[in-house]
C-alpha cells in the first residue's frame, strides 16, 4: 500500500475552552479607550490572569500597550509591554499573560499578526474584543482562540474561533459593582441602606413566588413539578414555632453575642492598659 501523499486541510483541534472575565478588565479597557491618543482608532493591550485547573481561562487584569497601526503593518511597543508585565508581577506573581484585547468589532488582518506575537509568549492566547463603538446596537464582548489552518506543511491562515465567555464576579466585587452602575453616585450607601435594599429584594422575590403559587392553584399557569417541590422544601425547612417565640430566640442570641464581644473587648482593653502601666512603671 503506497503511503498516501494527499495533503489534507487540517484543522488543529481546539479543546473546548471557555473564558471568565472580571468586570475590572472591562472597566480598564473602557478607561484606556477613552484616554487613547487622538490618532489611534483602537486600543490594544495585554490580558493577565490564570488558567484554572478545569481548563477555563480566568481573566483578571489588563493593561494597555501603546501601538501604531497603519494599513499594512502594526507596531507594538514590546519593551513597554515587558516593563508593565514585570511591574504587575511584582504585585501579583500569580497573574500571567493569558491573551490580549482590542476594542472594535470583529477581527482584522492586523490582529492576526498581533496574535502571532502573543502566541510566542503564551501558548494558545485568548483574543478579547470589546466593541466600544456599539456597532450592532449593543456592546459585544467576545473572546476568540485562533486555530492555524495549514495545508500540509504550509500555513495558510489563522481562523479565529469564538469561545463562550462568562462575566464572573466575586462577592466583594459585586457589591462595588452595584454601586458603580450609574454615571454618578453621590454617596456610597451605608450599612442600613444596603440592608434595606437586600430586604426589599427578598420581599419582592417572596411576592413573586406567592403570585406564582396562586396562579397555579387557580389554574392560570401550568404547574411545574420541580418548582413546586423546591417551594415545598423551602417552606418545610422553616422551623414551626410561633412568631413571638422566634423573635425572642433571635433577640436573645443576638444579645448573647453582643455581650461576648463586649466582654472580650473589655478584657483586651484591660490587658492593654495593664501592660502600658507595667512598662511605664519599669521605666520609672
Amino acid at each position: 500500500m503506497a503511503a498516501s501523499k494527499r495533503t489534507v486541510l487540517q484543522f488543529s483541534s481546539s479543546q473546548t475552552l471557555s473564558g471568565k472575565v472580571h468586570p475590572l478588565v472591562i472597566f480598564n479597557i473602557c478607561d484606556c479607550y477613552v484616554r487613547r491618543p487622538d490618532q489611534a482608532e483602537r486600543v490594544i493591550g495585554t490580558l493577565l490572569g490564570s488558567v484554572l485547573p478545569d481548563g477555563t481561562v480566568d481573566i483578571r487584569n489588563s493593561y494597555a500597550v501603546p501601538h501604531n497601526e497603519s494599513v499594512d503593518q502594526v507596531a507594538l511597543d514590546i519593551e513597554y509591554h515587558h516593563n508593565m508585565l514585570l511591574s504587575h508581577q511584582k504585585v501579583n506573581p500569580k497573574e500571567v499573560i493569558v491573551g490580549w484585547y482590542s476594542t472594535g468589532l470583529g477581527v482584522t488582518g492586523g490582529s492576526a499578526l498581533i496574535h502571532e506575537f502573543y502566541s510566542r509568549e503564551v501558548s494558545n492566547p485568548i483574543h478579547l474584543t470589546v466593541d466600544t463603538g456599539f456597532a450592532d446596537g449593543e456592546g459585544a464582548i467576545k473572546a476568540y482562540v485562533s486555530n492555524n489552518l495549514s495545508l500540509g506543511d504550509q500555513q495558510i491562515a489563522a481562523q479565529f474561533q469564538e469561545i463562550p465567555l462568562d462575566l464572573r464576579m466575586v462577592e466583594a466585587e459585586r457589591i462595588g459593582f452595584d454601586n458603580l452602575k450609574s454615571t454618578s453616585v453621590d454617596k456610597i450607601p451605608s450599612d442600613l441602606e444596603g440592608m434595606e435594599a437586600s430586604m426589599t429584594h427578598l420581599l419582592a422575590l417572596v411576592d413573586d413566588t406567592y403570585k406564582y403559587v396562586d396562579d397555579v392553584v387557580e389554574g392560570r399557569v401550568d404547574p411545574d413539578n420541580k418548582i413546586g417541590k423546591c417551594i415545598s422544601d423551602v417552606v418545610g425547612s422553616l422551623p414551626k414555632i410561633p412568631s413571638l417565640a422566634f423573635d425572642k430566640l433571635v433577640n436573645d442570641s443576638l444579645q448573647d453575642h453582643l455581650l461576648m464581644v463586649y466582654l472580650s473587648s473589655i478584657t483586651r482593653t484591660q490587658l492593654g492598659l495593664a501592660e502600658k502601666l507595667n512598662t511605664a512603671a519599669q521605666i520609672l
Binding site: I26, F27, Y80, A172, F177, L180, S184, P189, L202, L205
Partner: protein, 232 residues
C-alpha cells in the same frame, strides 16, 4: 472715582494670599474602586497599600486611577526597588495618558483597625510634597456582609500644625482642645463613571432579579466574627 471690587490690579492679586478651598468631596472613578477591592481582597488577610493618582480641582479631589504596591520585605536594598517600581509605573501610565499626579494612597485594614502611628507618619511624609492628599481605607472583611467599607481620610489641619511644631505634649493638646476624634477628618466619597462604562454596565447587568440577590448580608451567623474578636 469708586473703585470697583471686580477688577483688581495685578499687584493686588499677587499680594493677597491664595486661600486653599477646603476639601469637600473625593470623587473617584468606578475603576479605582474596583481595583482597590480586587487588590485588597486578593491579599487579605495581609495588609496592602497602593498609590492613588488623579487631579486636584478646587474643592473636589478627583481620583482617576491607582496602582498597587508590591509587598515589601524588611530589607534595606528593597527600598530602592520600591522607589524604582513607583517611577516605572508612573512613567508607563503616563504613556497611556493616565493622570500622573499622586493625590494620596490607599490601604487595606482588618476589622476596622487603621488608626495607627504609621498612618500619621505617612500622612506627614506625603504632606511635605503634596498640598492635598487623602488616604482611602478599605476593609475587605466587611465585604462578606455585603457592605462596601470604603472611607476617605485626611489629617485635620489643627492636628497637623500641632504635630509639625515639635511641641507635641499633653498640655498642648489640651490647650488646643484636640481629642482623638479630631485627628482624622472623614471626607465623603462620590463615584463617577464615564458614559461608556455606564453603557457597558447596564449591558452586563443580569436581567432577572433572581440572580441579583445579595442575601449573604442577611445571614445571621456571627461565629467567625466572634472567633476573631476573642482571639486577642
Amino acid at each position: 472715582m469708586a473703585t470697583t471690587t471686580a477688577t483688581r490690579s495685578f499687584l493686588q492679586a499677587v499680594a493677597t494670599e491664595e486661600v486653599a478651598t477646603p476639601l469637600r468631596v473625593v470623587q473617584t472613578e468606578g475603576l479605582v474602586i474596583l481595583k482597590i477591592i480586587k487588590h485588597c481582597k486578593d491579599h487579605s488577610p495581609s495588609l496592602v497599600t497602593g498609590q492613588l493618582l488623579g487631579l486636584d480641582v478646587g474643592s473636589v479631589l478627583e481620583v482617576t486611577n491607582c496602582f498597587p504596591f508590591p509587598m515589601r520585605e524588611e530589607d534595606e536594598e528593597i527600598e530602592a526597588d520600591g522607589a524604582n517600581y513607583q517611577l516605572e509605573m508612573m512613567r508607563c501610565l503616563r504613556e497611556v495618558n493616565v493622570d500622573n499626579n499622586t493625590v494620596g494612597w490607599y490601604q487595606s485594614t482588618l476589622l476596622g483597625s487603621y488608626q495607627t502611628v504609621e498612618l500619621i507618619e505617612t500622612f506627614m511624609n506625603y504632606q511635605e510634597n503634596i498640598r492635598r492628599c487623602v488616604c482611602i481605607i478599605y476593609d475587605p472583611s466587611r465585604a462578606d456582609q455585603g457592605v462596601l467599607a470604603l472611607k476617605a481620610l485626611k489629617l485635620s489641619d489643627s492636628f497637623m500644625k500641632l504635630y509639625r511644631s515639635n511641641n507635641f505634649t499633653g498640655e498642648k493638646l489640651r490647650e488646643k482642645n484636640l481629642s482623638w476624634v479630631d485627628i482624622f477628618e472623614e471626607i465623603p466619597i462620590k463615584v463617577s463613571n464615564s458614559a461608556l462604562i455606564s453603557a457597558f454596565m447596564t449591558e452586563l447587568e443580569p436581567d432577572t432579579p433572581v440572580t441579583r440577590c445579595d442575601f449573604d448580608r442577611l445571614q445571621l451567623s456571627t461565629s467567625s466574627l466572634m472567633e476573631r474578636n476573642m482571639e486577642f
